[in-house]
Structure formats: structure tokens, C-alpha cells
Amino acid sequence: MSLGDIWLFLQQGLLSGLVTGSVYALLALAIVAVFKTTDVPNFAQGEMLMMAGYVALSLLLLARLPYVAVILITLVVMSLGGALFQRVVMERVTGSRGVGVQLVITTLGLAYLLRGLVRQTGLGDTPRSLPSLVSGDTVAIGEAVLTKLDIAIFVTAVVVMLLIYFMFTYTRIGKAMRAVGMNPRAAQIVGIRLSRIRMMVWAMAGLISAIAALLITPKILITPDIANIAILAYAAAIVGGFTSLPGAVVGGLLIGVVENMVGLFISTNAIVVAPFLAILVTLILRPQGLFGGKVQVKKV
């Protein structure tokens, strides 16, 4: 491999990595936001993404709605679904003193249910893509080549992240969510309704899943296995510290770049194992992640 090749690969890996990484970052944001406010590690995040893809697909194929309507309905359905799951299921599980194991199993149950539902419809048998709103023309940046679709994905993801940032920083709901994340009991005392905030966080997770699905599925095929993308989002969340929203974004972009570099420089076969190695290395060397702050010792 000549020096020129390496330079080209570095550019291409960095740019492609930022594109896929921005989608991982979105999903990681959803995981972290849910974990911060409800203490639930959402193992069903990938299935929520998959579900969003199939909701859009079935609206498009079976109901034959125009694409704009499909997008809007998918966003609404996924938000409502997330809120409903928190209200009906999670509320009950946390209420009966659900500890970590129970919470994890509940989200795993949701994951199985969603996978099963999608398989039952038979839509998953033939892999399909959603139509793209942007043309697939290529654009050269430096020596690297991206499609216009890639750029649209990255820009939309960044805009969504900025919106989330503004929501958390400036709106009452966002501040309430942060307060619940810091200390639920104190938040309750100052008049924040916990169950409503938690529903909103889950709704946000559903919304983000829908956005991520709509962004990524014109680029890759929708199959039930698309849920495995969430593993990369998990790696991103852990690298970023698991409780830090900016960390999730940085982690997502980092994982995206690393994944692409591994694919270009080592082998495509190694891509699958890269996120797990990232998780292991982070947890062993720096368990609190890049942005996790100090490890807190729990008092008796």
C-alpha cells in the first residue's frame, strides 16, 4: 500500500465514517437519554429502528401513501409507540422495584416482540430500500467521494442533534428531563411529573429511531437484521461515557470513523467485531468513558 493510497483511504474513511457515525450518534443519543432519565438500558433500540423502517415500508407499499405523509406518520407512530411502551410496560416494571436485570429483560422482551411482529408480516422476507429524496450523484471532497445522499444524511443528523441540544438546554421539558436524570426524587419535589417526563423521553427515543431509520434506509437495505446497528450505537454510548449526551455524539462519530478505517485498512470481516473490541477496551481502560466524569462510589 503506497503512501498515496493510505492518504486516500484516510480521507475516505474519515468522511464515510462521519456519515454512518452521525446515524450511530443519533441512536446513541436515544439510548443515553433513556438511560439517564429512566435508568433503563434499552436493549431494544435496534429493534425500534427496524420497526420504524418497516412502518415506513408498509405505509409505502400497502397503504400507497405519498412519501411525505409516510415520513410524518412514521415519526408520529414511533413517538407514540415509545411513550406507550413506557406508560404501559416500563412504568409497571420500575414500579414493582425492577432492578437492572428485570429492566434489561423487559427491553429484551420488547426486542423479541418487535422482531417477531416484523417477521410475521412477511415484509422482512425480501430486503427493500426506502426511496431517497436526494439523488445518488457523487461529490468529491478532497480525494474522497461521497454521494449527495451521504451529505444529506450527515446534515440532517447534525440538525437533529442541534435541535436535541437546544431542547435540553433551553426548553422547560428538556430541563425537566435533565433534572430527572440528576435526581428523580428532588425533581419530583419541585413539581416535575416523573411519569410524564419518562414518557416523553421514550417518545423521543421512538422519534429518533424513526429519523435514523428514514435517514439510513435509502442507503442500506431494510432487513430484520438492521436492528444489529444498535450494537454500534451501544459501543458509541459506552465510548462516550453512557451518561453523557455530548459523549454519545462524539462516540458515535468516532465509532463510525473507526469502523470505516477498520474496513478499509484491515478487512471487512473484522468490522463485525470492532464495536465489541471498542466496548471492551473502553470499559477496561476507562470505564467512565471519554465524557463520563468521575466514577462515583455508592454509599451504603
Binding site: F35, P41, V89, R92, V93, S96, R97, G98, G100, V101, Q102, V104, I105, T106, L108, G109, L110, A111, Y112, L113, L114, R115, G116, L117, R119, Q120, I231, Y234, A235, I238, F242, N269, V272, V273, P275, F276, L277, I279, L280, L283, I284, P287, K298, K299, V300
Partner: protein
Amino acid sequence: MKRCSLDHLALAVLLAVLCVLPFTVTGYVLYVVNLLMVFAVLSLGMHIVIGEAGQFALSHTAFYGIGIYTAGILNAAWHPPFFVSILAGGVIAAILGYVIGFLALRMRDIYLALATFAFGEAMQWVFLNWESVTGGSNGMQMQPARLFGLRLTNDLQAYPFVVGIAALMLWITVWLSRSQYGSALRAVRESDVAAMAMGINARAMKQSAFVISAAFAGIAGGMYTLFVSFIHPDSLGFQTTILVLTMVVVGGLGSVRGAIAGALVLGVISEVLRQAQSAQEIIYGLILLGFMMFKPRGLFSGTGKRGAKPRASADAVATTGRSAAP
């Protein structure tokens, strides 16, 4: 009625059924029973690390796989008596468990769960890609296990040994849980700071529970090689860990009889659902959600109302562990 005598009764019934079975049923049913025994040992192992020591580890299938491959490869290479290859699988799983535990047990709760989850997935990748040893994605054909000239070629021949090993592992679990060591583990589960104040080396307790759990999984893997002649990495993924975790939790976290009951019930359910491929995941998901919503502490969740209060329920779990069968 006393819990203890009920346990003895249940155990006697189970024993009677197991004795009569080989004379009455077909090979398939025996295969399922053998599989249930393997699941029972797996879930006992997970019970030790999650139920007794309170460490949320999700790497069980990795050690199970290591047990299967170790025993399978030994059987093919040297044809040792099968208990040697099973033990070897247990020992190698335990050694790897020690290393992983050493690295991972500095973390708590969700971080430990994620680290062990990542290790499990990485191991599956190793099984899938280390082709010279595991056969990779072609799977591995395994030689029948031997015991001094006897070759175990079908489910019926393997049956008494599989049941025997499962009984032995159950006895070891109950013995551990009743010993001072078991009490120390539960003390660490409730609060490692308080346990350390009482002079218990919490770190060593967690570490040893993790190693024992890994050894159990390795031995379960060895048991598997007694009656199955083919292994593919696809069956050594996260879903197997989830299945075992569900057995332990649905049975009742922290109770030996829960681990056994969960293994039997969910083992049968997962085998029955295998026939109904399309609905499998939906039903399984609904079972998980339903249990967590309406019976989060499982089938054997201690007795009566004591389960309702957090502190008291911890005691209840502890006592359940102590009075557990037989």
C-alpha cells in the same frame, strides 16, 4: 406445609420421572430431556453469579461454547474418557473466566453487563472465524464421546450420564449455597461495602463466583457433546445467554429451585416454539414482558407478602437460597 419437604417431594417426583423415561419414550423426547439437563446446569451457573453474588454477567454462552469446543476437540484428538474432556472444558472455561472476571469485575451493574456482553459477542466471532480450530461457519462435526471402550452414539446411551452430571452439579450448587461461602456471596450481593466491613473480601468473592459460573457453563458445554454430534457458532450467540438469563429470572432470582424450574419450563417452551417458527419470537417476547410486568420476581419469589418490601424481600431471597432443595 414446609417448603423443605415440598422440595423433597418435587425432587422425588422428578427422579421417578427421569428413571421411568428411558423405557417409555422415543429418542426425540430423550434428546429434549438431555438438553433440559444441559440448560439446568447452565442456569445453575448463572444463578451463582447473578442470583447469589448479584453480578450482572452476560457472557455465559461464551464459556458454554468454550466447553463444547474443548470437549469436542479433545474427543476427536485423543478419545479420552468423556469425563476428562468435560472437566477440561470446565477448567479452560474457568481459566478464561478468571481473566475476564479480573478485568470486568471492577465495573458494576450495567457496565459489567455491557462488558461481558461484548466479550460474549467477541467470542462468538472467534468461534466463527478461527476456522482451523472450530471449523468456522461450516460448524464442527464432533466424534462420539467414549468411556473405556463404550461409545456414546445416541441419546439413550448418553442419558444416564447427562442426568448424573446434572444431579451432581445441582448438589454442588446447593452445597455451595448452604456453606459459609454462599452466605458471604449473598452478603456481597446485598452490599459489598457492608460485606467488606465484616471482613469479607468482596473482590475475591465476586471473582470466585464468576469463575465457578464459567466452570459450570464449560461443564454444561461438555455435557452437550455427549449427545450432540454437531456444533455451529450460530447457536452460541447472545440469544442463548438471554434464554438462560430468562430461565433464572422467570424461575426466581436467587433461588436454586427457581433456576431448575425456570430451566425446565423455558427449556420446554423454547423447544415447543421451535416448531412454530413464525410465532416463536412474538410468544417469547410476550412471555418476557408478561413475567416482568406481573411477576417480576419469578415463579419462586420467596413466600407470601415478604416479597413486597425491598429489604424484607432480600431476606426472603436469602432464606429461600438456604432452604433450597434437597
